[in-house]
Subunit: 218 residues, 2 copies
DNA sequence: CCCTACTACCTACACCGTAAGTATTACCTA
DNA sequence: TAGGTAATACTTACGGTGTAGGTAGTAGGG
């Protein structure tokens, strides 16, 4: 009575698995994610997944690659000016992070070596060269920009709201005791929009200003 | 023949557990870290740990709190100028990250709400206020600075070298195909010191310049 | 001296990632 | 059309995990 549909292709493929994995992590989070959960989601034996993806690490790689590809896909076209390119990239990257807050830590933690990542870097650096910026400043720029983006987005998205709250609208901060931390407490109102878009634009401008200043400084 | 030393205090304490956990993660990495491993390291039953720390999540909290405390502990004294303070903090933070590369992802991922973290923020913001900087720029500064630090250090330390290589001396990057990514390939020599101290100082200066520029801009 | 609180331990359960082996199908060749 | 081959999916099993629940022993206060 056993051995039912064995051997018959169940329509699995690396891409289909990746799509389902992205969806599963989006819904249930990284903690509970696993090969077995994903397999049951696909209506498939856990080990069948191993025919397409080597192990859990490779699975997570596929997940992060899939969401990273969204960034390039959503950008209709690219400006000429390097600052506009950087801004467009940063905004698209943030939008992706907001769409997939529970996946984003994967991106920030793992080194990105996919083609889409390389293409983005190439696009940015080429535009900076066109603008006649110092090579050293150009070489540093990606690490400064994406270092900031990764760290900032990690911080603002890390407060996992479960289900409540709109997307990226100020995950509540812990509130400072005025007796212990008077300055921080006084500043608290100005940090109300924590994680919001105006704040992001402000800080992005700050970092880009630093890069531009460094380009001039050299 | 069972029931040997049951009930007798084995000298466990939250702090002793945290110290052992830090040491264990430093040596074996986050992946393999677990309650059972830690318990055997301490020569103790796994469940005994639960008498002092609620669960694995709390255990990781204790680990990250312990290494974060090192930063304040190593700084002998603090300068007056806010930029010097920021630099000192950043360097101490980087030194800590280099000492504990496998623990650092924990810090960058989890929101820091410990007293040492708050004190550091209070110190920085108070100094900025003394300098007469706009409140909005002050309120933004910590997130920009530590956002960058977290993202940058994550990127430069993520290439886990296992055992080889000196500390933080250029984890080799993937090398770009000149045919596909000509600009990046041309820039590669300038990225040789990836993760090194001069690079860090350059990028830190870039970010601080951006913050200072934003302070003037407002 | 007993009683209480506390620490440490033991057992057990549900779950995990995955190595190794087996059965079934689809396709290509003759 | 028949036979062989490679690919795919499944099954079983092993050693690990976090931790809930219950038990045994000691330390210190009355």
């Amino acid at each position: 009575m056993t051995k039912r549909g064995q051997g018959k292709p169940a329509g699995l493929s690396r891409e289909r698995i990746a799509v389902a994995a992205v969806d599963l992590v989006d819904r249930q989070g990284l903690e509970s994610f696993g090969v077995r959960r994903l397999a049951s989601e696909l209506g498939v034996d856990p080990m069948s997944i191993y025919n397409h993806i080597k192990g859990k690490a490779a699975l997570l790689d596929a997940v992060s690659e899939a969401v990273l590809a969204e960034v390039s896909a959503t950008a209709a076209q690219w400006p000429d000016d390097w600052m506009d390119i950087a801004r467009t990239m940063a905004r698209g990257y943030r939008d992706m992070a907001i769409r997939h807050p529970r996946i984003f830590p994967l991106l920030a933690t793992r080194a990105q070596t996919s083609a889409v990542a390389f293409e983005a870097l190439e696009r940015l650096t080429t535009a900076m060269r066109r603008a006649g910026i110092t090579d050293q400043a150009i070489a540093d720029a990606p690490l400064v920009l994406f270092g900031f983006l990764n760290g900032y987005l990690l911080a603002t998205l890390s407060t996992d709201p479960g289900e409540a709250g709109g997307p990226a609208t100020g995950a509540a901060q812990p509130a400072f005791d005025p007796a212990l931390y008077p300055t921080m407490a006084a500043l608290a109102p100005l940090q109300a929009g924590f994680g919001g878009e105006p704040e992001f634009e402000r800080m992005l401008a700050t970092v880009l200003a630093g890069i531009a200043e460094g380009a001039a400084r050299a």
